[in-house]
């Protein structure tokens, strides 16, 4: 869909930002350019919409050389999300999102309708549409940035470090949102980040780049973790890549049945860790009934570990098992307890799988 053919960007002072880059961004899905600073990832991204012109080589979108198109027109056909959102502070949220529809000549009514739809898509309200950017939080502003990029239904959306300036909780929200929108709209997203965790959790395809603008490896996240192409990729992907790879291992872990008790129920001593749930079988916490028995009080509940949802990756299952005080990870389906798994159970399942699928 987007093809780099021997693209080189050299600056007048002699520095080479991108060196003979050839790669293909497949249609649909999220392709992430990741690498340390100075690896040319942002320069590569900006060459797609001609914010930067290559010194050599060419870039094709749908087999059409971008150099043959007028820069401003080309840019209007490609969504762009910038770091810090880069919203127009003097325009309301609605007017910001209407920018590209207006530039491509849609009449006001159509531009407005499209903008309102985009604003709703990213989870903002009509009430927020009439605010100025400064009246929104950082995370909300970045949502507006995403809405602005989507308003004219572009096929391709470029994102330049879109989440690096927001706090970690909001970042996870935004990542999920972008993933959901990509799936829903079937667009092709090219995203630049320096954060390998973000690249692996968000990307369908990850292009790891190294200093001097070389492509080190282009692969799926699972493959990147299993078979890094060289030492650079292996060290960039990180030491705990074996554990992280589990995040891409879809494993059938059979949950063991777990009898739950309800609050107030009398549980005799010697039962050990007991899982407490409400009437809807939603887990509440663990209670220790090893040394002493008696009715279960709300105050004695121990916090639960992480929950694994049926169908989650082996990493989630293992984390659930390791984080539970009882050593048994709680498995739920639609919020109801299905059973529990021990770490051994998860490891057995991984071993049965051969442990190397990606």
């Amino acid at each position: 869909m987007i093809r780099f053919e021997s693209v080189t960007k050299r600056y007048p002072d002699g520095t080479t930002a991108v060196d003979d880059l050839s790669l293909e961004v497949p249609r649909g899905g999220i392709t992430v350019f990741v690498g340390p600073s100075g690896c040319g990832k942002t320069t590569s991204l900006r060459m797609i919409n001609r914010m930067v012109e290559p010194t050599e080589g060419r870039i094709l979108i749908n087999d059409e050389d971008v150099a043959d198109r007028k820069p401003a027109r080309l840019r209007r056909s490609i969504g762009y999300v910038i770091q810090h959102a880069g919203l127009f502070p003097h325009r309301t949220v609605l007017a910001n999102v209407m920018t590209v529809p207006t530039l491509i000549g849609w009449d006001k009514g159509r531009a407005r309708t499209a903008a309102m739809e985009a604003i709703e898509k990213v989870g903002l309200t009509a009430d927020q549409a009439s605010r100025y950017p400064a009246q929104l939080s950082g995370g909300q502003q970045q949502r507006v940035g995403v809405a602005r990029a989507l308003a004219s239904d572009p096929e391709v959306v470029l994102m330049d470090e879109p989440f690096s300036a927001v706090d970690p909780l909001v970042r996870t929200d935004l990542q999920n949102e972008v993933r959901r929108l990509q799936r829903e709209l079937g667009i092709t997203v090219v995203l630049v980040t320096h954060d390998i965790d973000e690249a692996i959790s968000l990307g369908d395809h990850v292009a790891v780049m190294r200093q001097g603008g070389h492509l080190a490896q282009l692969a799926s996240p699972g493959e990147l973790l299993t078979e890094p192409a060289d030492d650079f990729v292996a060290s960039f992907v990180g030491k705990d890549r074996g554990y992280r790879k589990l995040g891409f291992t879809e494993t059938q872990v059979e949950a063991d049945p777990e009898r739950t008790v309800s609050l107030g129920e009398d549980v005799p001593a010697g039962r050990g860790w007991v899982l407490v749930a409400d009437e809807q079988e939603q887990p509440l916490g663990w209670v220790d009934r090893q040394g002493s028995g008696g009715p279960v009080q709300e105050e004695e509940l121990h916090r639960m570990g992480s929950l694994a949802e049926v169908g989650d990756s082996a990493r989630v299952f293992l984390d659930a098992a390791l984080s539970a005080p009882s050593g048994r990870g709680v498995v739920v389906q639609d919020g109801r307890v299905v059973g529990t798994v021990t770490p051994e159970r998860v490891l057995e399942a991984i071993r049965a799988q051969g442990g190397s699928d990606g």
Partner: protein, 213 residues
């Protein structure tokens, strides 16, 4: 009558003063906009341009009023001399202001505008200039007050405006017209200053929107 000067005379001189100070202010802004834009667009142009226009301000006004008829071929009493001189002073103050204003637009905003598909000229008018309004109007207020003050010197070459009250008072050894002139100048400067401040507020509604979530 006030201070020995007829109200109607004060009114006439005030209108002249507004004309001679105000028109150059607007002309100066119109000339400074492209100059300031050039200075931000081509970085190497900024130092010579800002130093050069700034230097204009150091030319004594009386010298300029006397020199301009020779340079322009105008008559000594022609209003054009004063209008041109005051425009030069306005440009001197406003070129830097416009460059600073355009330079104050956040880089991310500018880049986003380009990435959305704005051409450079369109971006300057619909993104950069509106965002530069607070800085430009601040400079405009200084230039307006400065113009009101400097233009009174033109009374020495016989171009009538409020400054004429100073020469008259001096010649007649009468403090009345001088005080009236000073008072009128101060009031005019305050009104212009407040007017531009108000204009700036009207043009920048986003700066006063509360931070309600």
């Amino acid at each position: 009558m006030i201070g020995g000067v007829a109200w109607s005379t004060v009114g006439d001189l005030l209108l002249r003063h507004i004309y001679l100070a105000g028109v150059p202010l607007l002309l100066g802004l119109l000339i400074s906009l492209p100059l300031g834009w050039l200075a931000t667009r081509y970085r190497w142009l900024a130092p010579p341009m800002i130093a050069g226009t700034g230097l204009l301000y150091t030319i004594p006004s009386l010298a300029l009023f006397i020199l301009l008829p020779l340079l322009l071929g105008t008559r000594v009493l022609d209003d054009a001399n004063v209008l041109v001189a005051m425009t030069l002073y306005s440009v001197a103050l406003l070129t830097r202001t416009v460059a600073d204003g355009l330079g104050s637009v956040p880089g991310a905003t500018r880049q986003a505008a380009t990435a959305m598909g704005y051409g450079e000229l369109r971006r300057t008018f619909v993104v950069d200039l509106p965002l530069a309004v607070p800085v430009i109007t601040a400079g405009l207020r200084v230039a307006a007050v400065s113009n009101v003050s400097i233009v009174s010197v033109a009374a020495l070459i016989g171009v009538s405006q409020l400054g004429q009250l100073f020469t008259e008072g001096f010649n007649r050894n009468d403090m009345g017209p001088i005080f009236v002139g000073i008072g009128a100048c101060v009031v005019l400067a305050l009104v212009l200053d407040a007017g531009i401040a108000l204009l700036s507020r009207v043009l920048t509604p986003w700066l006063r929107a509360g931070v309600a979530r």
